[in-house]
């Protein structure tokens, strides 16, 4: 099923993130939406990891997930099946977070008109800023236990204008 650009909403993005989260992390704490602005900015919870991926083609976007250290660590351990005492190398975090944004990006892409192509993921300790030609189309702040994370979908300005025109 694909949707029009106008229909990409926080609801769609939340549903995708929720499904990926539940499958990878099992039946732990649920994700819940936090109304922005939030005092639980991921950046306020220590250092953060950003994982980004881009979509090019009939639908274009950059998808960035921002996770504080605690969430990045927990996600990686869950994906690898590691115990709390097992040592995590930075390569493990980069690999796991890259796969996380790859799966979330691939599933969001599948909702949108095609054909389009998914890039390889990019993971950094610190902020990744999408190209200045992109504008933020959707921002989702989610709580997970005491932590929070953020998912931002940015699209080209003209694509965003088309979306707003369709919504009007």
């Amino acid at each position: 099923m694909s949707t029009s650009t106008a229909e990409l909403s926080m609801t769609h993005v939340h549903a995708v993130v929720e499904e990926v989260w539940t499958t990878f992390l099992g039946g732990g704490d649920p994700l819940y939406e936090i109304a922005p602005p939030t005092d639980r900015d991921p950046a306020e919870q220590g250092s953060v990891w950003d994982a980004a991926i881009t979509v090019t083609g009939a639908w274009q976007a950059a998808i960035v997930i921002c996770l504080p250290d605690g969430v990045a660590d927990a996600v990686t351990r869950a994906m690898l099946g590691f115990a709390p005492e097992d040592h995590l190398a930075p390569e493990d975090l980069i690999d796991a977070l890259g796969e996380l944004v790859n799966v979330i990006g691939g599933n969001i892409k599948s909702l949108m008109p095609g054909p389009s192509k998914l890039s390889l993921p990019l993971v950094a300790r610190g902020p990744i800023s999408p190209s200045t030609s992109l504008v933020e189309a959707c921002r989702l702040d989610l709580g997970w236990g005491p932590h929070s994370l953020r998912v931002v979908v940015s699209v080209p300005a003209d694509q965003d204008r088309d979306q707003q025109a369709e919504e009007a």
Binding site: S2, E19, V20, T22, T23, F24, T76, M79, L80, G81, D92, D95, A96, G98, E99, N102, V103, G105, G106, N107, K109, S110, G114, P115, L118, L120
Partner: protein, 121 residues
């Protein structure tokens, strides 16, 4: 049976191998490759009975791997395990000769449904 798991993510290869076990298909000999080019060499050298491959990888993508195998006349059963499960990707996979496409995130049940006809039948 020997199963070749191809993914550029070590984490995802481990998840795929774990899910094989959870879906009741854990008794197989698993070999791994990090991209399509490496997988092509492993298929030629080790003749696995099934290839489970990611789509989007550096060096050589999964679809390029499948097309290269079929161009060589190699008919090893092949399935995708990928984050992209749109209708056009599924059609392209089937057209190139893939038996199935399992979309990430997946469950052990989805694995069993796709793999049982190949591994049990």
């Amino acid at each position: 049976m020997k199963i070749l798991v191809v993914d550029d993510s070590r984490v995802m290869r481990q998840i795929v191998i774990r899910t094989l076990r959870q879906s009741g298909h854990g008794g197989h000999d698993i070999v791994e490759a990090e991209n399509g080019r490496e997988a092509l060499e492993v298929v030629q050298a080790q003749s696995p009975g099934l290839v489970l491959s990611d789509w989007n990888m550096p060096e050589m993508t999964g679809i390029d791997l499948l097309e290269a195998l079929r161009a060589q006349g190699n008919t090893t059963p092949f399935g995708f395990v990928t984050s992209e499960g749109s209708d056009d990707m599924r059609a392209r996979a089937t057209g190139a000769g893939a038996l199935f496409l399992i979309a990430k995130p997946f469950t052990p049940e989805a694995f069993d449904e796709a793999l049982a006809p190949v591994l049990v039948g």
